[in-house]
Symmetry: D2
Subunit: 391 residues, 4 copies
């Protein structure tokens, strides 16, 4: 069932028992809190195309199942109108500016590992109406944010995708190549781990788009490493640009921007799955085509969940995988480009409001804990109201 | 220990068990949520005189006790700076306008039955600087809001009190006189229940101020009832004005305003207790002088709580009674002016940040439940974003 | 619903939550353990008249109610046969001997404050067949064990009662007379507290039997106190015998035995209530006639419980009061012969197997805790298997 | 910490929260019940050599750890004397008879997957004193009961082992050979799965004893299967006897008994590990030598547990593996003779009373649930006390 939501990292609320004490305190039940980003409402906000759509989606949230496995919706307890009213201001995209005074729209932030992880559709529409070029970010790799942006967001929003930039770092490639210390020069590890980048590039090409690689330079990257990388990219005839935005700001990204502009074209998208595929087929297609899995194993529980979902008419929902970001597979310890692995689907969650079938491929943390020294310890205010310690 | 706070009526959160599941989910413990108004932080906001004071008070919140009964403060876990920073905007009083466009400052709302129940001191200061007259409200009767306003707020804020208006309704007097249906004319019940008004008037006079009674007319009050009331007040030589603000708005209150202006003088306040009295004496003085109790019984637990409080240096805190508003006694079923009753102090809570000794005289609800048909059911929004059902 | 039972004093099991963890661990629910004596099964054993009766009663245990308030019985889950089989040996009365080698039957021990508190009917039958005289004990006073023995056991077992001995101690009378230290001579307190004995005698007479008082002498009783007592008993023409069994064993009880034999006659019993009275009437009759209450107040919950019981056909059950043994009233702090008190019925428990309507008149402890130094600490065994510390 | 124990299959008690309600109900804590066989006390009973030993072992039970990781023993709360006294009768072995009137000692039953799984040492001693030959059973395979009997029981009891019989069934071999339906003839699966038997034989030989195989015939075994088996055993020159005890009782076992008598000799035992090996080494030796594991992985938690155990002086305890019986490995789905597998040690439990280091290699069920139709449903008693449905 639906968790309570609070925007605070409080690990004691991960698993709670509510309704203790006398009967008037409600039914004794296992429950949990998740943070705002992990709430289905965040995903709904990101997908809604207006007040009516918002209200309808909120009403479609499944708050539980009856004894005979029929869904109970938020609209059944008449909670949708009030929720939509409460969110009416929040549905309007926010415009902010970067440190270089470039306007940016920041709106909604659904978790990339249990939801679709991208900025709101209304924000995209606003940007498309206001600016010459609209660039949006899809979190994590081609296996997570990109796949979901393509298969879910562009289909839902009916948006074309004219270009794709994939950001690569030498340190990440060394990590995938097996380097223990990614802050030390390690050209052999780099040459091994660049395969991971190629796997992501192939994923993007499979959707029908030729990406531009942004080689995002970090101060510890050595000339030897940069040269080794660009040589391989040149050999492979991969479009790329060295990006120095990390050290030089917007100016450092001009070369990249030019490359990207060159790459713009009307692309014909090939989705990972057809929306009319049976649920199992949709999941299997993503796992095989995007992750490179050999097999897909569904637990008994997952199979029952799928059956219930199809019986209740949720078969044509999008698939939104809940998967680790540490590997292109579902196993966080498999680096680079794993092969011959089996994806295990433990269970399936149905989000009626966002319209998602969420296969759970591992333990996903939806309520973080605080670090040993919480950031709050350093935050302070003086007698004039000046706040310090925020960054 | 300190409860978690959420501003939602969710009775399932009244008594919860947190930290279920693996060890990484924290310690298994009984816990609870209260609504915002019931949080000590709300009382602290209402009493703070600036950022420094706010931060110090927040740091003085007692979050628990060690095994040897020493308090652990919020400052011990370095939470005070961040809390104060988070509240920095909220500490600024808000100015709003009434439906007749009269400016009003609305700022903070501590529960009147577990905290002091009045608007913020910073709001009072702002009003005193900006307007000719400053009128504030103290919730419930002379036994709750008025007592706490006098004994706590005016001492803490060092504010004079130049006049007091006590609002009386014929329906409340009939209720205290034993009427079953207060919407029906019932002069005998009225004549009995007016004693309750006199008890409140006496309480105010005991503090050294002669109040003006605002006889707040309601449409169902009959001429006979109004006449009976004014005759008794005339006979008793009690200052009063008939107020028709309920039916005629500000215009209906002009007579009352004039009476109140006449009553303004520099009053010499007699507090219910001396701040240096021992804790038990302070509690007993309020119970005897203000409630009219014959005896005060302290439970074993309350006596141990008092001892611990005095050992830890909290003996000079204000007393802030947690008491029912349904009776001038601590027993909600005793109407009018009960006599020969015994007040029972079940336990004592110490709020280090607001500086309160809170004697618990009964079960006080700090997390309401929803009614059978929650107001939310009627709230709605249309496709243009117009919200309906809020009133 | 029915509690789990374990014969160990483990206060941590008074209120537990079962079924934590994954779904396969069962339903999350509030639950409790009680000790063996507090289990309905103990009362059933004490009332059963054979295997068939035992099995039927076990099958009638109510293990819960459906959503529409119909009882679910142990027989509905086919638990009665196995339970009866498990108890088949336990149903046979045990014969033991006293320290003076007198045979005694010890069989079953239902709690006197939540059940009927007397030895088994099968044990009574066995004793009646084997011995010249059968003496049984009914725990606590005439308001508890005696009332239940008369109204429940003798009716259920169809047993005549030929004589009644009421045991009185000087120390108990001093306690009821307000003495602080009952080990010190205190004739005035004794003279006051003897009224409590008279109240119990009157209760017995109201059932139609003239009792013999056993004045049970304790070493601290003084000659003055004994004399004062016997003088009052003589004056009141109450049959009694001084008993010295405490200091002199069986020999010290000969005088009492003789008095008792003299008092034997065929008594015509007047029960406290008619079994066909409505439930409320039965409860009120006990409270008024036996406890001396002026009023009886039923909580809303109790009234609903009574209605449900009568709807389900349990109206003709015996009433078995759950009441404190510290007072003849339901308030443990009212000593001697309280008057003008009101009995409060908080709730009603129905025990379908023992056939009891159990009005709950206060908090009754059904799972004791251990003392600060548990008796187990002193128990030991040596290398030969000799056990020490049992007494 | 130590679980509570109850001898009833009650899955709702697997994971409970105790101490709910007011403070007087004890500390709120996660807890659990296990059945009697899973209690450390059962293992202690099985290993004790007398009252003194029993009491000492009970006193060594670890009931928890202090904040600085020092053990708290049952003797620290003086519970050992009373526990030993309570068990004094239970420590005496029971003699019963088989259906063919052969005397047998049945005494204690520690779980074979979390304890050592064999009958008591005192029972063994009694049998050795009373009979010509003493035969005992060690549950499950050579990887569980046999390994523990050799490494723990024979060392602890200082008992020689003169012969070993390993019971093999054709159906089990077919199961390990991959047969789906072991009730159907399947010679190829049998020929594959007989490798599992050879692995167990090799394990026994590694301890220094040549076993006799009891080929335990089941009615569904076909002549072809029996012939295939005996031919392979003959070819491999393995000592065996066909046993027909299942269909013909004791008479069917005469051939086996004769073979076993022939095999009796004074064996020189080679244990799987030296008691003075570090804990990790002991575990690794069992995993490699007995299970055939390639690697052993210790979780962080297990490593910390081992460190704490060695710091507290428990390093020389026996290792008693908690492992599945469904595979010779720690993974229940690996049949026959798995190779190249890695054993994972999740955590370590120390049983101070039995003197066991218990590495937890998976989820071991210590509180069974009831089947869909509990056996109790068929048990009944008639009016004469005759019990039916027990078998």
């Amino acid at each position: 069932n639906v968790s309570r939501t609070v925007d605070m990292d409080d690990r004691s609320l991960r698993a709670i028992i509510v309704g203790d004490g006398p009967k008037s305190n409600g039914i004794l039940a296992s429950d949990s809190f998740v943070i705002t980003a992990a709430s289905e409402i965040m995903a709904i906000m990101a997908l809604s195309k207006g007040y009516e759509d918002l209200k309808e989606r909120l009403g479609n949230i499944i708050i539980g199942y009856t004894a005979d496995n029929r869904p109970v919706f938020a609209r059944d307890i008449k909670a949708n109108g009030a929720m939509a009213a409460l969110l009416s201001d929040a549905l309007k995209p926010n415009i902010v500016q970067s440190v270089e005074n470039v306007p940016a729209i920041i709106h909604t932030g659904p978790f990339g590992n249990i939801a679709h992880g991208t900025s709101s559709i209304l924000g995209d529409y606003a940007a498309l109406n206001m600016f010459d070029y609209t660039v949006t970010e899809a979190g994590f790799g081609s296996d997570l944010g990109f796949e979901k942006f393509m298969d879910i967001v562009t289909r839902e929003a009916k948006l074309p995708v004219d270009a794709v930039v994939i950001v690569a770092t030498i340190r990440a490639m060394k990590h995938h190549g097996g380097a223990k210390n990614i802050d030390e020069e390690n050209v052999p590890a780099l040459k091994t781990g660049i395969e991971n980048l190629f796997a992501h590039i192939k994923n993007i090409e499979n959707f029908g788009i030729e990406p531009v690689v942004a080689l995002n330079i970090h101060p510890v990257d050595t000339d030897k490493e940069i040269k080794a990388t660009t040589e391989i990219l040149d050999t492979k005839e991969i479009k790329y640009a060295v990006s120095n935005v990390y050290s030089r700001g917007g100016e450092g990204g001009i070369q990249l921007a030019e490359k990207m502009l060159e790459s713009i074209r009307e692309n014909k998208i090939t989705y990972a799955y057809d929306i009319n595929d049976p649920i199992r087929v949709k999941i299997e297609k993503i796992a095989r085509k995007v992750y490179g899995a050999r097999d897909i194993e569904f637990s008994k529980e997952a199979l029952m969940d799928i059956k219930r979902a199809e019986n209740n008419g949720f078969g044509k929902f999008y698939v939104c995988m809940a998967k680790t970001q540490s590997s292109i597979s579902d196993n966080p310890s498999l680096l680079n480009v794993p092969e011959n692995f089996k994806v295990k689907v433990n269970s399936i969650v149905i989000n009626g409001g966002s319209g998602f079938i969420i296969p759970i491929l591992g333990n996903i943390m939806t309520m973080p804990g605080l670090p040993r020294h919480p950031a709050a310890e350093k935050i302070d205010i003086d007698s004039k109201g000046n706040i310090t310690g925020l960054s």
